[in-house]
Symmetry: C2
Subunit: 130 residues, 2 copies
DNA sequence: TTTGACCTTGCCACGGTGGTAAGCCGAACA
DNA sequence: TGTTCGGCTTACCACCGTGGCAAGGTCAAA
């Protein structure tokens, strides 16, 4: 099948399939005589896996390792777990950062009258020593 | 004072000060005869405000509006509040996304033995219909 | 044969920040 | 006075992941 079919069957855009190929995340596809990329059912598996891993927020570099482990029948689940743990730690860090921002802003917003007057704790905080 | 002093007094890197100037977020600074940027105490206020707003996760575009409102004595606090609210909503959206990723991964990780065996629910989920 | 949909590669863009290179400038020191 | 070193200038490239666009080749149906 052609790239757009592979794209619609996996949810990965044709653009991204080409990109993943160019960075070596997926193998170079077969080509037709005229140079069109050709995909078989097997190829879709990897794309679907990448799609799901991206959905869980893994970076392409992490996905590269995950794909490699996936294709290694002698893998240790400990290796997979380590990648997942690192990603969870990263997610927690980002969640904590965003939550802190949100909490501060929620507090400031609550104290802002939100009317036609200029006085505003949000601006005041940003402008002074907040 | 020169740019590196302004940088160290505000915590905004010289690189970023130039960038903010180039995108019109801050006014073009005065220049010495030889072309060096010159900053006065007044200029630092804006940089400090940008620094704090970035720390709260506002985008540079939002900051552009905030700075504009800040410098407008006839501003309505409602306008400031609206920007903050929009940002809070965005933060909440991102927090929810990341939390969902983390929860799913935490679940999978918990069920992964993490030993030398290949079997692993994380890989399985990524590879199949997860 | 024409047409329209598809494919190819290659470049530019986003946001925000860092790096690096080439060249000018300023101050201190011999 | 001349050298030297650090700071300043602009301009470009990189990250990450994705989208868009343009110029040109290809395929299938009408």
């Amino acid at each position: 099948m052609n790239i757009s079919q592979a794209a619609s069957l996996t949810g990965v855009s044709a653009k991204m399939i080409r990109h993943y190929e160019s960075i070596g995340l997926i193998r170079k596809s077969a080509r037709s005589v005229s140079g069109y990329r050709i995909y078989r059912e097997d190829d879709l598996q990897v794309l679907r896996m990448i799609k799901r891993a991206r959905h869980l927020g893994f970076s392409l570099e992490q996905i590269r390792e995950l794909v490699s482990l996936w294709q290694d029948p002698a893998r240790a689940s400990a290796d997979v777990k380590a990648i997942a743990r690192a990603h969870i730690a990263d997610l927690n860090r980002r969640i904590a950062e965003l939550s802190e921002m949100r909490d501060i802003l929620a507090q400031l917003t609550q104290n802002c009258s939100g009317d036609a007057m200029p006085d505003c704790p949000i601006i005041d905080t940003l402008a002074s020593s907040g």
